[in-house]
């Protein structure tokens, strides 16, 4: 109980602090839309990229939802570095704050942010002619996929933040991990248009689990069994990375 309560209050703290950053809010709204509109235009004439969707934008929307979520998660560790630099974390650690709650609140915050962005992207997508073929369940799957993707990568990101503790190293790691994972996934093109080895590799990419789930929900409106498995894999990934980040507090505490 205490764990959940602490997590809750720490989520409140982060949400409240972020709401005081108008530029952050603006970027959270604008950035995913830029990706959707830019990529949507860039590849719109390449017919084979649609993967059976009525338009490239319909194919792309679940991809951008997931890209946005996992990028957001990957970068969320910056918040931990800022808290470390301001010694807020030390203050929490010298109080009976649960280490897991400190990490998990950031993971939850990243998940909520990604979910709100997914909602925004879907609404704009609707205006561009995208249809969610999975109906209400489809919407829920898209929200779950985005939240879990962001959460899984937020756990990883916070672990890295606690290990490297420097912005520059954090940025390098996020780029090093993030960009390859983006291109070894079906975010921009369907697996059928990928070189065979990349298509095979992408099956082990957590980003792709989210993309497949969201695309099943929007384009196909079916394959619910496979979709469920993808979501469960993401739940497991979130658990693993959150525990990894919690464990990384040891490394941090050895350093102080």
């Amino acid at each position: 109980m205490q764990l959940l309560r602490q997590t809750g209050w720490m989520v409140v703290r982060q949400a409240r602090n972020l709401m005081r950053e108008p530029i952050w809010i603006a970027m959270m709204v604008i950035q995913p839309l830029v990706w959707l509109l830019l990529y949507g235009q860039l590849f719109s004439r390449v017919g084979q990229l649609r993967g059976g969707a009525t338009s490239y934008v319909e194919f792309l929307t679940p991809g951008i939802v997931c890209m946005n979520a996992f990028f957001g998660g990957s970068w969320s560790g910056m918040a931990m570095i800022s808290d470390l630099n301001r010694h807020v974390i030390d203050r929490f650690l010298a109080a009976p704050a649960s280490r897991f709650a400190i990490v998990f609140s950031q993971v939850v915050r990243a998940g909520i942010t990604a979910m709100l962005q997914a909602l925004l992207l879907l609404v704009v997508g609707l205006a561009l002619g995208v249809r969610v073929h999975g109906g209400l369940l489809g919407w829920l799957v898209v929200f779950a996929a985005s939240a879990l993707l962001a959460a899984a990568f937020a756990g990883f990101s916070h672990g890295v933040a606690l290990l490297v503790r420097k912005e520059a190293s954090m940025i390098a790691t996020a780029n090093f991990v993030g960009l390859p994972l983006m291109f070894i996934s079906a975010i921009l093109i369907p697996p059928s248009s990928m070189p065979h080895w990349i298509a095979q590799l992408s099956r082990f990419n957590p980003v792709n689990w989210g993309v497949q789930a969201a695309r099943n929900a929007i384009l196909t409106g079916g394959h619910w069994g496979a979709t469920g498995v993808y979501l469960l894999l993401l739940v497991a990934a979130t658990a693993v990375t959150s525990l990894f980040a919690t464990w990384c507090f040891r490394a941090y505490q050895r350093s102080i």
Binding site: Q2, R13, R16
Partner: protein, 324 residues
Amino acid sequence: MGAVDAIVVEDLHKRYKTVQALDGVSFSVKEGEVFGLLGPNGAGKSTAVRTLATLTRPDSGHALVAGEDVVRHPNRVRRAIGYVAQDSGVDWEATGRENLMLQGRIHGMAGAPLRARVEELLDLVGLRDASDRQARTYSGGMKRRLDIATGLVHRPRVLFLDEPTTGLDPEARAAMWVEVERLAAQESLTILLTTHYLEEADRLAERVAIVSRGKVVVEGTPAELKAGLRGELVTVDLAGANGRAHEAVQVVHRIEGATEVAAEGQQVRARVPNGAQAIPLILSALEEQGITVAAVTTARPSLDDVYLHYTGRDFSTEDQEGNR
């Protein structure tokens, strides 16, 4: 021992890659006492406090805070302590009140008791008017006061103040001293404070341990430590530049009880057991030799002298080394 010990530290060792930060630190603090760890930067004070606040694990040795072992039961220790780190732990984006509310919630407080406590503390540290402003707008002194209030939300039994006045301007420092004195009186707390300001330890701490290179070199009340130097410093200014300082040193040397006699320009300094008794003797002896005196002053030893005496090093030069 009498009173219960709020803090017991026995033979703590802690080594970072190349630095032996703690090299067998031992001391104890009685309940309700204000205890000062005094030493230059890099002496190991902060490492000692971080160990007691459960942030750092010692390599060896034992430490009990409020009766609980910091390594075996860190969470019990955390519930009993307030930790005000050397670097402010204020959340800049949150308001002063929000900072305090969250800290209380981490300690499991809630509802009306928490709100009442937060209001009480805002008054105590004089931040009521600024309580709904983001802490990023606070001055250094205000942030520091918020730090202290944050450390007090859950009514801890032991409060750690790591360098509470470092980085404050003289005015804010004086205000902070008044604050700490009031806390010590009002909240019936045990306070462990670290400082590299001698006058701060002298003013605030009932007992002091001087830390140098990871060890406690001496421990006692400021008065005891000064008395341990046995005596007062007498400074005699010779009249005119007639170059008789060396002669004067010989004369003062013959006075009973005078030690550490030395000349510097037209000044002769000596340590004597009792200034009031020694001064007439010194003056008449000098007069007999026809050496005229312009002025005489006596000074009780300062913690500066204590530091020099026990470590064999001058405090200010040591401090600069520590800063490197």
